[in-house]
């Protein structure tokens, strides 16, 4: 079975986000970029499936700017076998919408015929939480979102999902799209020898047109602003003072 893993290049999760003065978005120029943390978990899961003999090839794909090849090299260094880069924009500030990403991924799925697509549940930039579900919809496949456990049993995947009240386990027909949540695994670090080896692994460069997809956004950004700041509070000296303040504020 082949596993396809889409990965997104996003602002590093440790970087403090700054809104651009013109309100068009968040400043990404000269900012450290990394693989979306949820996508690291899906790459790790795909590699573990291969190590367990349940997958025979892990293909990673990224859709965005040309620099996303660094993100793909990271995934290759972790242990993915080959990569596909779909250059969909030359502007790092142009975030390709999940619907467009899902359409391009569908084109790749049609070509590659994977048995499983493993996605991060959301990207930490636009926080949409949509690409996996949309891809599944376009393919007419089953979906299992927010996975904290993934098992393959013949032509079914058994997936435990993180839901509001606790956990839900479902069994879905393969091929399927699984989106992963935080507790599924802890991604490995790439070793130096593997980083060197990853430079020689195949990386195909494509365009959206190769999959018959036109890149256009359905959501126009009207403005982007900093969130309203909270007024500064006070430091209390003791538990007694805290209780008094809470009573004063009518909070207890």
């Amino acid at each position: 079975m082949k596993v396809l893993v889409p990965v997104k290049r996003v602002i590093d999760y440790n970087v403090k986000v700054r809104v651009k003065a013109d309100g068009s978005g968040v400043d990404l120029a000269n900012v450290k970029m990394s693989m979306n943390p949820f996508d690291e978990i899906s790459v790790e899961q795909a590699i573990r499936l291969k190590e367990a003999g349940q997958a025979d090839e892990v293909v990673v794909v990224s859709i965005g700017v040309k620099q996303a090849q660094e993100t793909l090299r990271t995934a290759l260094a972790m242990g993915a076998d080959r990569a596909i880069l779909v250059v969909a924009t030359d502007d790092v500030h142009n975030d390709i919408e999940p619907l467009t990403v899902a359409k391009i991924l569908k084109g790749i799925v049609d070509e590659e015929q994977p048995g499983l697509v493993l996605c991060g549940k959301q990207a930490i930039d636009n926080d949409m939480n949509a690409t996996g579900q949309m891809l599944s919809a376009l393919l007419g496949w089953s979906q299992a979102t927010f996975a904290s456990e993934v098992g393959i049993e013949g032509d079914k995947a058994v997936v435990t999902r993180e839901v509001d009240g606790g956990l839900q386990t479902i069994k879905v027909n393969m091929p399927t799209v699984v989106t992963v949540d935080l507790r599924l695994n802890e991604p490995r670090y790439a070793s130096l020898p593997n980083i060197m080896k990853a430079k020689k692994k195949p990386l195909d460069e494509k365009t959206p047109a190769d999959y018959g997809v036109e890149v256009s956004n359905r959501l126009e950004i009207i403005k982007t602003v900093e969130p309203a700041a909270r007024a500064a509070g006070i430091t209390v000296a003791s538990v007694d003072e805290l209780v008094a303040k809470l009573k004063e504020a009518g909070a207890v």
Binding site: A137, K171, R183, L219, G233, V243
Partner: protein, 308 residues
């Protein structure tokens, strides 16, 4: 045109708080028609009919719709979509699972976690874990939206909308339910609680988390946890408050042993009153706290419990 609102239904019961908050958001867009669906959904439909501002309730009951499976639920919504310009839901894990699939099937972009309605096409939503707020205008003919419930007040009860039955769509037969592991608790539900007490990495162990629970019980509060506490195994994931967990906005939020990472602040900074107890006076949590107490939580929390 009317708005179709997917009610949050769990095992035949309406989650009133989440649904009523989404009704408040949806009312700004037109007449609200609530869809209650599931293996059993009639009682949930009756309950939804009483929410102020609901003009009609549709009830769909079918085995294929039980356990909120995405494929069958999305197929049902798409079969009804022709009559509506807006298809909306409260931003729960179930709705995030289903609604993005609905948007994919309808070939429209989803607008997830909307926090404000500007006009019929324009919505505000947080990005980058709430570190920026973005206003987006949709060019799609149909809008599929999930509303972040913590930013809307619940609509009242007192309505008496008519209830109609609709049929399930053909079962795609792609998935089946195996089991639910739901944490049984007498405490209020995290996202709708008036008071939340959360513990972080500073709590130090799963055993010590009992202290957080005692304080919560004293306050009649729900228990929350930071991602660090969840990752360390001190607390279950469904307690997680933050960008990757639940977003809460209670009247009182008590953060104990929580440093205040950006990803946690994203989940609680809209709380009315924030109390922080941490021994590190440099902890970023103090920057959002109304009342900060620099103290060892193992001394301060028992003291607080005895004095409340």
């Amino acid at each position: 045109m009317a708005v179709l609102l997917l009610a949050e239904v769990n095992n035949g019961e309406l989650a009133m708080d989440a649904t009523a908050k989404a009704v408040t958001a949806a009312k700004a867009l037109g007449d609200v028609v609530v869809l209650a669906c599931g293996g059993s959904a009639a009682a949930a439909g009756e309950a939804a009919a009483k929410i102020d501002g609901v003009s009609k309730v549709l009830v769909a009951e079918d085995d294929s719709l039980s356990h909120r499976l995405a494929e069958s639920t999305a197929a049902l919504i798409v079969s009804l979509a022709g009559d509506y310009d807006h298809i909306v839901a409260p931003s729960t894990t179930d709705a995030k699972n289903v609604m993005a699939r609905v948007a994919g099937l309808l070939d429209v972009m989803i607008i997830s976690d909307a926090t404000a309605v500007v006009d019929a096409d324009t919505f505000e939503r947080p990005i980058y874990a709430g570190n920026a707020m973005q206003t987006v205008k949709s060019s799609d003919s149909k809008k599929v939206i999930t509303f972040r419930t913590s930013t809307f007040d619940a609509a009242g009860e007192g309505g008496s909308a008519s209830v109609e039955t609709v049929s399930a769509a053909a079962n795609p037969g792609l998935s089946e339910w195996v089991e639910d592991k739901v944490a049984e608790s007498d405490r209020p539900e995290l996202t709708s609680a008036g008071v939340v007490v959360s513990g972080g990495r500073g709590v130090g162990s799963e055993e010590s988390f009992a202290l957080i629970e005692q304080l919560a019980d004293k306050l009649g509060a729900a228990v929350g946890a930071s991602r660090a506490a969840v990752d360390s195994g001190y607390a279950p994931n469904d307690w997680q408050v933050g960008q990757t967990g639940k977003v809460v906005a209670p009247n009182l939020y008590v953060a104990v042993g929580i440093s205040g990472a950006i990803q946690h602040l994203a989940g609680m900074k809209d709380s009315k009153i924030i109390v922080a107890i941490n021994k590190d006076e440099e902890a970023p949590i103090f920057q959002v706290a109304d009342f900060g107490l620099v103290a060892d939580l193992f001394e301060a929390v028992p003291d607080l419990i005895s004095k409340l």
